[in-house]
């Protein structure tokens, strides 16, 4: 028995050894998988970072370019004792900093292994040059060039957005695309066009030997990959106009948007207060300061804030009533300092001649006129109830680009709010509201909320006599084609012929002359034929908001503008001058009204704005 058992045990031993040998045979000789993996380990991929795409304005001026910066890299395993004082002096830092960094690398040496780590980020070119001259004294320490963003003009900080190093969350959200140390656009165009701007990383492959020394280029570099630079982007922005608009809006809270009506291209879009490009370049330094600013400079009011449009919305109501046939160009309504909608309630109006026709009502911005007009539309017998009529009104308003996202190329555009019968059924109960309840929508107040971009788009619609192209920020360029939707005309539900009936009113509002009762005489520029409409929107937090839309010239308009200034009072006091100066600058290239310009540039309304 003993011998038999010994035999069985020896057979077992042989089988076990064979199992080991067969498995080793498989992984060493049969299966290629492990060899491929192994070459990944012994090949060194040196990443070549692409240059990021340049962002141009509509005239070919560079808004965002690239410049070289130098990171000081350390490969702790290759470092030999060196002159700490000399290195510190050369790099413009303290010996303590270098010592603490070296101590840190020593502590983390297991984790770092043979990798290189960044000791100093973005040192300037002079420092780098003086280091490079003596870098042979510091084995294991070298400079790595990297292109960073630079901004030749201070235009459009909020639109452009910033680029910063990706963090763990970002890498998780974009698996396989980014590695630690990569940079990515985080806001604005840099973020929305990240895929075009970033380009493709390339690499050079080197082989290292068992001493971890780089031996040679792998396969003579035939498998290396060139970095593909990012695509350049041409924006619709006019840098000069954008910069001028920023100056006009300085020390004011609000938005200023200019659109080329024919194309829907945004010429300037200012959200004030905003971010200076200088801050974008060094976002890490400024981030906490920006985040703590009570005026929220990072917040793009032009697309992300919605406001009551105020009297500029009378144009929409007037056009809807004309289309519905309940209002004729020639209809006149009286105004006794307002519109009495209940025995003891009156929606006030200012002093002006009475009664007025449509054009004069626009020119004078008569509240009562548009209350009568909208009432006639909403109480039209054609509709079974005011609810049904309001639904129709809502449809019309939506066709003007309100109440929904326009679909522009801003990543975080908001939709605004336009009330429907559902809204009021919820507030008051079905059948328990009537025109008197919702009278304030006649003058663009109440439940109406619109973004400055939508208001500017309204201006473009009127300028085009009834259609718009979705406002957008990026133009076609040789290596980039934008979505065709930006080239399609979107018509409103109001016939183009109706627009001719309101535009003379807008012309008069600006150009009828002082004493005529026109609300926007201050915006008049001889020869430009500006057509405009003021608005004074109630703001529950302090003084009224000053609103103005305009386009010019009247025939074949080149620019449509909306200005919205929070807590600045009448439309004519700040919004109208700002918008008209912008139009004048764009069309004439110079300003004929230096006193008005000085007043606007120096005006400081920040104290009027309440911040939480």
């Amino acid at each position: 028995m003993a011998v038999e058992r010994r035999g069985k045990l020896i057979i077992g031993l042989i089988v076990a050894c064979l199992i080991l040998i067969i498995k080793i045979f498989v992984i060493q000789i049969v299966d290629d998988k492990y060899k491929i993996n192994s070459s990944n380990n012994s090949m060194v991929y040196e990443i070549i970072y692409p240059t990021r795409g340049v962002i141009y304005d509509r005239n070919g001026e560079i808004l965002v370019g690239n410049k070289m910066a130098y990171d000081i890299m350390v490969t702790p395993r290759e470092v030999t004792p060196f002159d700490t004082l000399l290195l510190a002096k050369t790099l413009g830092t303290t010996p303590e900093f270098i010592r603490s960094k070296m101590a840190e690398y020593k502590r983390d040496r297991k984790k770092i292994g043979f990798q290189s780590v960044v000791m100093m980020k973005q040192v300037d070119a002079d420092t780098y040059t003086s280091f490079a001259e003596i870098s042979y004294l510091f084995p294991g320490i070298k400079g790595q060039t990297r292109s960073i963003r630079y901004y030749p003009v201070n235009a459009g900080g909020n639109l452009l957005g910033y680029v910063s190093e990706v963090d763990g969350d970002y890498i998780k959200k974009h698996p396989d695309e980014y590695r630690p140390g990569d940079y990515a656009g985080k806001t604005g165009i840099e973020a929305s066009r990240e895929n075009d701007l970033r380009g493709e990383k390339g690499y050079s492959i080197y082989l290292r030997n068992s001493k971890n020394q780089i031996q040679s280029r792998y396969n003579d570099g035939s498998l290396d990959k060139e970095a593909v630079p990012g695509k350049d982007i041409v924006t619709t922005i006019d840098a000069t106009l954008q910069q001028y608009g920023q100056n006009l809006m300085k020390n004011k809270v609000g938005s200023l948007v200019a659109i080329e009506p024919e194309t829907g291209e945004i010429l300037a879009l200012i959200s004030s207060p905003g971010i200076d490009v200088e801050q974008l370049g060094e976002i890490r330094k400024y981030y906490s300061k920006i985040a703590a600013d009570p005026y929220k400079p990072m917040f793009n009011r032009a697309v992300q804030a919605y406001y009551p449009p105020g009297s500029v919305f009378k144009l929409v109501n007037g056009l809807i009533c004309l289309q519905e046939g309940t209002l004729k160009e020639t209809d006149v309504y009286p105004c006794y300092k307002g519109y009495t909608y209940a025995t003891d309630r009156k929606l006030g109006c200012h002093n002006h001649a009475s009664p007025l026709s449509l054009q004069n009502a626009i020119m004078n911005s008569c509240n009562a006129y548009f209350c009568y007009a909208l009432r006639a539309m909403l109480e039209n017998r054609k509709y079974s109830s005011i609810g049904e009529a309001l639904e129709k009104w809502n449809e019309y308003v939506n066709s003007f680009g309100f109440g929904h996202k326009l679909g522009s190329d801003f990543p975080y555009e908001l939709s605004g709010t336009i009330p429907s019968s559902k809204t009021y059924n919820k507030y008051y109960g079905k059948g328990r509201w009537r025109f008197a309840t919702i009278v304030s929508i006649s003058i663009g107040q109440g439940e109406i909320g619109a973004t400055p971009l939508q208001i500017a788009n309204l201006s473009a619609i009127i300028a085009n006599r009834g259609w718009y192209k979705i406002p957008h920020l990026i133009k076609d360029s040789p290596n980039l084609t934008i979505d065709p939707k930006y080239k399609e005309k979107v018509y409103t539900m109001v016939d183009t012929t109706q627009f001719q009936k309101v535009i003379p009113g807008m012309w008069k509002a600006v150009n009828a002359g002082w004493g005529s009762g026109a609300t926007a005489s201050i915006a008049s520029v001889p020869g430009l034929d500006i057509c405009g409409k003021t608005g004074t929107a109630q703001n529950p937090h302090g003084a009224d908001n000053s609103v103005f839309i305009c386009f010019a010239p009247m025939d074949n308009p080149k620019i449509a503008v909306a200005a919205y200034v929070e807590n600045a009072g009448f439309g004519a006091s700040w919004a109208a001058p700002i918008a008209s100066l912008l139009v004048e600058k764009y069309l004439n290239g110079e300003i004929s009204r230096p006193e008005l310009e000085d007043r606007v540039l120096e005006g400081d309304l920040m104290s009027k704005v309440k911040v939480k």
């Binding site: 010994r6 050894c17 060493q28 998988k33 192994s38």
Partner: protein
């Protein structure tokens, strides 16, 4: 093996071939330790600030121990002193749990300043000695319950202490003593049953409990059928039943059928006085219970890190950068060696620090990478010859004590060999135990040296007297 019968002079009375294999493994180990540390910290092989230099010291002291054992210490002491040695070491094993210093999560090291010492390494030797002593007593019978219990206690006590020290790997080595017990008369069915249990564990986790039960029933039927005379028909019937169950795929139905079959089988066995069937039924019930408790064992009894290692091993989870990292890197290193390897000191995987624990538990990676399949085959052959030689010498000895001790040494070497290399090539979970003689470390090298040289001196002792 001519040495034993032809001559009794000192030159021939020691098993010099065995010593030669031992030396070869020690030196191969040193060369590979040097290779695994050289590129990260280039220096001479004798520089004691790095591991290869320290290993030289361990090797020199081991040789000193070998000389002591062979020529100075009286050989009788291993038999007469085995019980005190054993008790002393068991005491240390338990003491170290409370006063030992923590190394990588386990409380198994005594520290005396710079010198560290792991009693678990020594306890393999003392346990082997006591096992040899008890089992070589006249009148010892494995089948006697009292004797069997004694042996279970001798093996179980240090194993328990080592488990409590969280040195699971070292505890696993004690399972190797089952081979010794088998050689000394324990039923082979116990080994078979343990094998089946391991298979059930793996099948339950990777396929399903139902498949595991089918495997169990098939195995039991197969073993029973091999004992009967009407094989062909019975095998057909059994195969039909298993296939039917596999098609029905109902675990409940299978269990009901199995339960119903038990009384019938027991009655049949009683009538036929067939104890094999009774044992089969018991094995079946235990096996089924085991299948149902696998989840609990896996999730509750095993520690988190053990569970993860098993999950990675069985391919239940892919985790190449976490728990699976070691194994993945180790397999890459070995795999990249190809047939003849990259050449000595030319390995890139092991010397860049891709493989962790490269000079201790993963020393085999350096062999695989730099010496390729040829080197692996050579090293495994050396171990095979070492174990085979010990078994053959043991079989030839007249003293039961020497034979049993020899088998214990062979079993320990085998367990270390299989678990360690198995781990580096991904067929065993990552269990940190050293490769005998080759891995870096004083404790381990000393222990194996003492263990092997005690056997050599015992073997020599016999040749002297007969």
């Amino acid at each position: 093996m001519g040495s034993y019968s032809s001559s009794r002079g000192i030159r021939h009375s020691y098993d010099w071939k065995l010593i030669g294999i031992y030396l070869a493994l020690v030196l191969i180990g040193l060369a590979n330790i040097y290779s695994s540390v050289i590129s990260s910290e280039p220096s001479s092989i004798f520089d004691t600030s790095v591991r290869s230099g320290m290993q030289c010291i361990w090797i020199a002291t081991s040789f000193g121990l070998a000389v002591l054992i062979l020529f100075i210490i009286p050989a009788r002491i291993w038999e007469t002193g085995s019980i005190p040695f054993y008790l002393g070491v068991v005491f240390l094993l338990f003491a170290v749990i409370f006063v030992g210093s923590e190394v990588k999560g386990s409380h198994s090291w005594f520290s005396f300043g710079a010198v560290k010492f792991q009693p678990a390494e020594i306890s393999k030797i003392t346990t082997s000695l006591v096992l040899a002593l008890i089992m070589s007593q006249p009148g010892f019978k494995m089948a006697k319950f009292g004797d069997f219990a004694k042996i279970a206690l001798i093996i179980g006590l240090p194993m328990l202490a080592i488990l409590a020290e969280k040195e699971t790997g070292s505890a696993l080595v004690y399972i190797g003593f089952l081979f010794v017990l088998y050689r000394e008369g324990m039923s082979g069915w116990i080994l078979t049953f343990i094998g089946i249990i391991i298979v059930l564990f793996i099948v339950t986790l990777t396929v399903s409990p139902f498949t595991a039960i089918l495997v169990l029933i098939s195995a039991i039927l197969a073993f029973n059928l091999l004992q009967t005379s009407h094989r062909a028909i019975n095998i057909l019937i059994a195969a039909a039943v298993i296939i039917a169950l596999a098609i029905i795929k109902s675990i409940n139905l299978t269990l009901i059928l199995a339960l119903a079959a038990i009384p019938a089988l027991l009655y049949y066995a009683y009538r036929k006085r067939n104890s094999f069937i009774i044992a089969s039924v018991i094995a079946g019930v235990v096996g089924i219970l085991f299948v149902f408790s696998t989840d609990i064992i896996f999730n509750k009894v095993l520690g988190d890190h053990q569970r993860k290692r098993i999950e990675v091993l069985l391919g239940m989870k892919e985790d190449p950068s976490g728990v699976g990292y070691n194994v993945n890197q180790s397999m890459i290193a070995i795999g990249s060696g190809g047939f003849t390897g990259k050449g000595y000191l030319e390995g890139t995987q092991t010397s860049y620090g891709f493989v962790p624990e490269q000079s201790t538990d993963f020393i085999f990676c350096t062999v695989g990478e730099e010496w390729g399949f040829v080197g692996c085959l050579f090293v495994i052959s050396l171990y095979f010859m070492l174990i085979l030689r010990i078994i053959n010498d043991a079989e030839k000895s007249r003293e039961h004590f020497t034979r049993i001790y020899g088998y214990c040494v062979a079993a320990c070497l085998f367990m270390h060999l299989f678990i360690n290399i198995g781990m580096t090539i991904g067929i065993m979970p990552v269990i940190g135990i050293p490769l005998p003689m080759m891995s870096y470390g004083g404790s381990s090298l000393w222990a194996f040296t003492i263990m092997i040289f005690i056997f050599l001196v015992l073997d020599h002792q016999e040749k002297k007297y007969f």
